[in-house]
């Protein structure tokens, strides 16, 4: 019945909405018909035609009133009223095109910056997993005393998978890693991004392949048996031109033949935020991809490199899952104290995982979001101020409307419709600006990801961001429209009708405007402080340098697994490469290193116990970062050996194991002793013995902003590593050496690709300077926009004030007031407002600084220079904005001004 009912009512509503004129005509016709009939009846009853007509009209009781009643019956008058208001608003906005344009641009900037920034926040925090029912997926993580987001080892994963009951499947995956890929055995291998996943990965996620099939559960049971690969959608498109016959074909991954069994759907680019794997391989194939041949991925409970996720059963609760996992972790701790002492486990939701404390990206985006909202606030207060001034010049119009019987609510609605129109235009402009900002982010793709792997900036304009932009527009319409609308409809009717411009009763009206100025000054001061602090923070990082000369260095990486070298061949290759490069013309020095400072591969973690040291009960070993280097590393990189010696050719694989530590490491573990000659044990107190032979100066390892950190070097000869980077120090332009390296490598093996060949200083600039500069530009732009808007707003309000007080000033001057007195009068108020605004702004600045320190730089203390620079600048600029109108006030000719009106 309900639906049937609508069948009748909806067409009627639409008709009165779109064919209102015709409906009105019919109304008229119907009533006229009735009147004529009535008149006929009257005439028949003996009345004259005129009398009959009059009688008919009397009974009807007012034709227009009836029509209005009938129109109201349509139930859409609120909508037609809105259209009337909108039409009126557009007309009145078109009368002041300059002002309208200014307001629209202001709002567009505010909304655009905010929604553009929101695209970051969205991609980093809110975007759900690209799978069906994403909210059922939980992240499982190991927790220790210093991390709540630890990975699991393969054995631990199996335990969780088999011994928990809260889930419809537990899955695991490795990080995306560099894999040598060739479409057939003859082609030269290229570096691609592969991810190892458990056999049930796609099934549990609910991802159906667009072609072929996904892994079977049994395909990750037996190590090395099932060499099958599932392609990522993007990889399939550009590498195989979306060829459907790819299923069943053989490809080579790190020199091993794999069969393509399927292609993941377009809707599933991957579960990570930044990484979009080219292909997926079963966990059981791990040995093919391991960088460390001494590791035993399948058995070693300490080899933790798996992310574990699980799908919660519909009837299980998070709390239950959490308890179950905690019990399991306790059991593991009892069973394997060697590996799991002090280790617990926790269940994290998607949101908890995305806002993990040890990740900086989302924190940046939150800070950006706060700053962007501040810009929007300044924009809104600006517009509110303008609308307020505008509304005051319309006092008479509003008074007339009120006098004619318009309800106050109806007038507020009219004025709000006007600001809504502005916000709609501003919102459209804002969406365009947001698109621009997202595009601008994307233009930094190659700067931020200097890698051959498929990583990308995930920020995009999607439905959520558009909805946010629309919501922001509506919000700003309300923010900047409500106060002026409420205030300007509170008019004293008598006064309002007498004069075009009256003061509002009491001081309430002024209070609102003063608050606007204070809010603007303080918010923009906060923005400027934040911008300044961020620029300074990044600059300090950049100036600090790395601790060794970055110029005249060429970098290029090799992975002999790409040409199927075994470990012995690999060792031989690096030995020959180093020897030949040493003798090559133009080469001052060569070095081989597993990872370069600020390198993308990340340094390996290193677990050890100082020999003879009694470990605390809850801790099995200490952790540090490490690098594998050859004997010329320190001299070529010019990292001074402070004490002891560097590696030598005599430190062969059969010689006693040795290591070099950095100064921080040495001071940390042997504060009062000489570290050289001390021993450490690998992994645990009964691990292999390693002698410390030298102490190197501490440099920056992972981040140009990092604090001094423990670090240890091992010789390549004692820790064979397949993927190494060659560093060459040149006399002149390092890129001139590229040809030399190419020739040497071609002689060794013509098929071996050189990866990431660059001048190191170039690489450094991108990593440490260009990337942060993106953030600096953003914050700087926000600060500037905020300041400009605040200055424009202040100027506008002061100018308006002066123009309103023209007569008063003229009278004062006619009575003999000095120019300076008038200047004081007008400026005094501005000074007070700016003063209050500055005070609040400084307080807010302190707040932001604390926030940034706690989240990003951790510099501690207060950056006085920031305030010394920013506060006077803002003060001078805002005072200037107040001075110009004030100065104009003093030049008013009294005779002219008094004639005003």
């Amino acid at each position: 019945m309900r639906l049937q009912h609508w069948l009748y009512t909806i067409p009627l509503r639409l008709r009165s909405l779109f064919r209102g004129r015709q409906a009105d005509q019919e109304l008229n016709e119907e009533l006229q018909f009735h009147l004529e009939k009535k008149t006929e009846q009257g005439i028949a009853g003996g009345l004259s035609p005129a009398q009959a007509r009059r009688a008919a009209m009397l009974v009807m009781g007012g034709l227009e009133q009836r029509k209005e009643q009938m129109r109201d019956a349509r139930g859409i008058h609120w909508l037609t009223d809105f259209f009337d208001d909108a039409r009126y608003a557009v007309r009145s906005l078109r009368r002041t095109p300059g002002l309208t344009a200014f307001v629209v641009i202001t709002l567009a900037l505010g909304i655009g910056i905010t929604s553009g920034t929101f695209s970051m926040l969205d991609a980093l925090i809110f975007k759900p997993y690209p799978v069906p029912h994403p909210s059922g997926l939980l992240n499982l993580a190991g927790t220790t005393h210093d991390s709540s987001f630890d990975d699991f080892s393969y054995r631990e994963y199996l335990d969780i998978r088999d011994k928990t009951k809260s889930y419809d499947g537990v899955i695991a995956n490795s990080d995306m890693q560099a894999v040598g890929f060739s479409a057939d055995s003859t082609a030269m291998p290229r570096i691609k991004g592969g991810m190892m996943v458990s056999g049930n990965y796609f099934h549990v996620l609910g991802v159906e392949p667009q072609l072929g099939r996904v892994f079977r559960e049994d395909e990750d049971r037996i190590a090395g048996r099932d060499a099958v690969v599932v392609l990522g959608p993007e990889f399939w498109r550009h590498e195989f031109s979306s060829d459907p016959s790819v299923v069943g074909r053989h490809v080579r991954l790190n020199g091993v033949d794999f069969t393509v069994i399927g292609v993941a759907p377009k809707t599933f680019p991957g579960m990570q935020i930044f990484d979009f794997p080219d292909f997926y391989i079963p966990l059981a194939m791990a040995p093919v991809f391991s960088t460390d041949r001494q590791k035993n991925f399948f058995e070693d409970r300490g080899d933790r490199e798996l992310n574990v996720r699980a799908r919660l059963k519909p009837d299980a609760t998070l709390q239950h899952a959490q308890n179950e996992l905690a019990v399991l972790a306790k059991n593991l701790e009892t069973e394997y104290p060697k590996f799991n002492r002090g280790r617990n486990a926790a269940v994290h939701t998607h949101f908890e995982m995305r806002t993990r404390t040890d990740d900086g990206n989302w924190k940046f985006s939150v800070i950006f979001m706060i700053l962007a909202l501040a810009v929007l606030l300044v924009a809104c207060t600006n517009v509110a101020g303008i609308l307020l001034s505008r509304a005051r010049t319309r006092t008479r119009e509003i008074a007339v409307r009120l006098a004619l019987g318009a309800g106050r609510l109806r007038l507020v609605r009219l004025l709000l419709t006007e600001s809504l129109m502005l916000a709609v235009l501003g919102g459209l402009g804002g969406i365009a600006i947001a698109y621009g900002i997202v595009e601008w982010f994307h233009s930094y793709q190659s700067v931020i990801f200097m890698t051959d792997l498929p990583s990308a900036i995930p920020f995009e304009m999607n439905t959520r961001v558009l909805v946010a932009a629309i919501a922001l527009s509506a919000l700003s319409a309300l923010l900047c429209g409500l106060v002026p609308a409420l205030q300007s409809t509170r008019v004293d009717l008598v006064k309002g009708l007498k004069s075009a411009d009256v003061d509002l009763p009491g001081r309430k009206g002024m209070w609102g405007r003063n608050a606007l100025v204070v809010a603007q000054v303080s918010t923009s001061l906060m923005l400027l402080t934040a911008a300044f602090l961020m620029v300074r923070g990044f600059q300090q990082n950049a100036i600090g340098g790395l601790g060794f000369p970055k110029d005249h260095l060429l970098m290029t990486s090799f992975d002999p697994r790409l040409v199927q070298y075994n470990p012995a061949q690999t060792q031989q290759f690096y030995k020959l490469l180093a020897e030949r490069m040493r003798q090559a013309p133009g080469v001052q020095g060569e070095a081989l290193t597993q990872n370069i400072p600020l390198g993308l591969d990340g340094f390996d973690p290193f677990a050890f116990v100082p020999d003879g040291f009694e470990m605390p009960r809850d801790q099995e070993n200490f952790n540090s970062l490490m690098d594998t280097v050859n004997e010329d590393y320190f001299s070529t990189m010019r990292i001074p050996i402070i004490h002891g010696r560097s590696f030598r050719g005599s430190d062969t694989e059969v010689a006693p194991r040795v290591a070099v530590v950095n100064e921080h490491f040495a001071k940390h573990y042997w504060p009062s002793m000489d570290a050289v000659g001390q021993h450490i044990r690998l992994n645990s107190r009964d691990g292999a013995l390693v002698e410390i032979i030298g102490v190197a100066q501490t440099i920056k390892y992972q981040d140009s902003a990092e604090k001094p950190t423990d670090f240890l070097y091992m010789p390549l000869s004692q820790r064979p590593t397949p993927r190494m980077t060659l560093m060459l120090r040149s006399n002149g332009d390092p890129l001139q050496l590229v040809q030399t390296v190419k020739e040497v490598v071609r002689n060794l093996n013509p098929n071996l690709p050189m990866l990431n060949t660059r001048a190191y200083v170039e690489y450094y600039r991108n990593q440490a300077i260009e990337g942060p500069r993106v953030a600096m530009k953003m914050v700087g732009a926000m600060g500037m926009v905020g300041l400009l808007l605040a200055v424009a707003g202040l100027y506008g309000l002061m100018a308006y004030n002066v123009s309103r007080r023209t007569r008063e000033i003229a009278i004062r001057m006619a009575l003999g007031a000095e120019q300076s007195a008038v200047l004081r009068l007008v400026m005094g108020k501005g000074l007070v407002l700016v003063g209050i605004g500055t005070t609040i702004g400084v307080a807010m600045g302190f707040g932001v600084e604390r926030l940034m320190n706690s989240m990003l730089f951790d510099a501690g203390g207060i950056d006085t220079l920031a305030y010394i620079t920013v506060v006077p600048t803002l003060f001078v600029v805002t005072m200037l904005a107040a001075y110009i109108p004030a100065r104009r006030a003093t030049q008013i000719a009294p005779t002219q001004a008094l004639r005003y009106e």
């Binding site: 009912h5 009748y8 009627l12 009533l31 018909f33 019956a73």
Partner: protein
């Protein structure tokens, strides 16, 4: 003189629906019929008739159609819709209950 508002709230709607349930009619005929069947006891002014008809139409209980009337002038003819018919049944039942209850009360007072 009693005013048209003597009609109980909502009863006009019921009357109109009832009249239209018999056959489709235009506004003029409805006004004549009202007078005739209620023997002038229920006085509905022309002024309140049309807004009431429109409200019923907008609510979907009745629907309208332009058709030639007896002397070939175009007039708007109203007829009951299916939901309108159901609505009428319900309202009639309501009315019967209400009027029965009121009669009962009135008789009580007299006794």
């Amino acid at each position: 003189m009693s005013k048209p508002s003597d009609l109980l709230q909502g009863t006009l709607d019921l009357l109109l629906l009832k009249i239209l349930a018999l056959e489709p009619m235009n506004g003029w005929d409805i006004s004549q019929r009202l007078k005739q069947i209620s023997s002038d006891v229920l006085h509905v002014s022309d002024g309140s008739l049309y807004p009431a008809l429109h409200k019923l139409e907008q609510q979907g209980w009745i629907t309208a159609e332009w058709k030639p009337s007896e002397n070939n002038r175009r007039a708007k003819f109203y007829s009951l819709t299916k939901p309108g018919r159901k609505h009428l049944e319900k309202e009639t039942a309501n009315w019967s209950r209400l009027s029965a209850a009121i009669s009962h009360v009135v008789r009580l007072e007299e006794a």
